[in-house]
């Protein structure tokens, strides 16, 4: 504790340099925070994927459909508890900037498989009675200020024309991680109105009695539809979500590359600053060693300085990033979640301190090993 004033005066010694170094850390950690926010958002679907669900899609591509008749055949596979399906609608509400995912769902079965969502019974009843009815996630309700009873016009893109829906209810997530920025409506409404894809669905979800049988059942399903016009590719929901993520490129790799470049640059900047600082203080370090400060103590004083730069800068950067995320998703709902988790804050501060340590270790070792007589002779 008694050495803190000594570290403090050194931090204040070159105010501009201190501010710039701390600023470098702040900017780098702000970027790091944003990268982790984006990574979390992209990988969120993988994280929340149900362990007991399989996704069955067209083997050629996710955008190719499957026949609705597969539902019954899937339900007959040993180990399958229940089956539901959905289709991507892809409409535009007012403007393309108002993007949110819309799914045509098999109303009878969808909610029983996706038990992480709940809808009030009376709202569910209303939905089931109204062919043009829709259920809105509470995240979307917040975003657009909709309420039950509102009529929502959506311009079809894949399915042309203006589609109108009545809000019958709001579905809520049972856990904070649940994606509640979705829009569900009856598949039957889509099937009746659009003749181009009649009898076809986007994908199936298969709920298993025993998740440990997932590989066997997936193989059975794919073999069952092999050599048919609509061959299937079946995988766990987690693998499906991860594969979907991969289609956008190896985001994790890109983020790691960007993060590494940022931190390496920061390491060079801070290391260089610390080296200059130690060089400027050669005389003082020699005097302190003359007075009885041991090499190890000198090393700790300089390392502490470097780590404080890193920690303060990191805290500022991550703090600003946290404040930024609290303002809400700037992509208007493109990202399922937009938050900086405590785990990533801790990781950021840890990396920050590590960079501070690495940046300071060489200059402080040089200071530790400084020969007093040589240093005094240089004065």
């Amino acid at each position: 504790m008694k050495f803190i004033p000594l570290i403090w005066v050194n931090l204040k010694r070159k105010k501009m340099r201190t501010m710039l170094t701390i600023g470098s850390f702040a900017v780098a950690l702000f970027l790091f925070g944003l990268l982790t926010v984006i990574h979390s958002a992209f990988s969120h679907q993988v994280k929340i994927a149900g362990a007991d669900r399989l996704v069955v899609r067209n083997r050629i591509s996710l955008i190719m459909p499957l026949p609705i008749s597969y539902k019954q055949r899937l339900a007959q596979v040993s180990g399958v508890k229940s089956v539901t399906f959905g289709s991507w609608f892809g409409g535009v509400y007012q403007t393309e900037r108002n993007f949110f995912p819309q799914f045509a769902i098999d109303s009878e079965t969808y909610l029983s498989i996706f038990s992480e969502y709940s809808v009030a019974p009376e709202q569910w009843e209303l939905f089931m009675k109204d062919r043009q009815g829709c259920l809105i996630g509470e995240g979307l309700i917040e975003r657009f200020g909709w309420k039950i009873g509102d009529r929502i016009p959506i311009q079809g893109t894949i399915f042309p024309g203006l589609w109108e829906f009545n809000i019958c209810g709001i579905f809520k997530g049972k856990t904070p991680e649940s994606d509640t920025k979705q829009f569900w409506f009856h598949y039957k409404y889509l099937d009746e109105r659009d003749s181009s894809t009649k009898g076809l669905v986007g994908w199936y979800y298969v709920q298993l009695s025993d998740p440990s049988q997932a590989d066997r059942i997936a193989q059975t399903i794919d073999e069952m539809f092999a050599n048919s016009p609509y061959e299937t590719a079946t995988e766990t929901e987690k693998a499906f979500a991860a594969g979907f993520l991969k289609q956008m490129g190896n985001i994790q790799f890109v983020l790691i590359c960007i993060g590494s470049v940022i931190f390496f640059t920061l390491l060079l900047i801070t290391g260089s600053n610390m080296a200059i600082a130690v060089r400027e203080r050669t005389n003082e370090i020699a005097v302190m060693k003359t007075l009885g400060f041991s090499g190890i103590r000198i090393l700790f004083l300089i390392l502490a300085e470097s780590i404080i730069y890193a920690f303060v800068g990191g805290t500022i950067g991550l703090g600003l990033c946290k404040l930024y995320t609290l303002q809400g998703d700037p992509t208007n709902g493109m990202l399922i979640i937009f938050e900086l988790s405590h785990a990533y804050i801790a990781l950021g501060l840890g990396i920050s301190a590590m960079v501070g340590f690495l940046a300071g270790i060489i200059p402080s070792c040089l200071a530790m090993r400084l020969n007093i007589v040589d240093a005094m002779r240089r004065i």
């Binding site: 302190m288 060693k289 003359t290 009885g292």
Partner: protein, 237 residues
Amino acid sequence: MNEIKENQTKSLIQVRNLSKTYKRGNEKIEVLKNLNLDINQGEFVSFMGPSGSGKTTLLNLLGGLDVPTSGSVRIGDAEITSLSGKQLTSWRARHVGFIFQLYNLIPVLTAFQNVELPLLLTKLSKQDRKKHVEAALSIVGLGNRMHHYPRQLSGGQEQRVAIARAIVSDPSFLLCDEPTGDLDRSSANEILDLLSRLIQEFSKTILMVTHDPIAAERSKKVLHLEKGVLIEAQNKD
């Protein structure tokens, strides 16, 4: 030499056959050659001699800042030439006060903080450190300049702060490397008066390197070094 033998038992500092050789490329430079010296507690000794005669090297060896090529230095009960680097560091903090020609104060610390620096290495409480620092600064007559930074002080005042820093931990002896070399005559005299006072009132032992014969006049003994050899000793007793 007879005097050395007589004083051998009571000397604070005993130097025996001390040699120091530096290497510059393939060339060996013998800075000190078989030096023998005894200095008693409370003595004020000056070392004079031309540049390169080995004065500062001798001071560095006596202060444990450098190690000799051969020979020994005993100070009090400690044979410092056999101490490890770590032991020497700790020994210096307890036993030696250093005063430099260019004061060597830390510019970002106040006079108080500069003087407190050696005490940070002790187990003294903050309150005790404060008392010691105030006492040291009042001895050098700077009790009213405690919170001034070095840049706010004159050269003479800076050197007085350096002296306060040297005496604050109550060392056995003070090593002064041209303490008046950067001062005008009047300030130099003030510093020399202060050093004399430290001997008279606090029985400090002072070893001073100087080029200034007037400064050397203040000491009890003047030793001349030439080419690494002690060639003359003037004892004013």
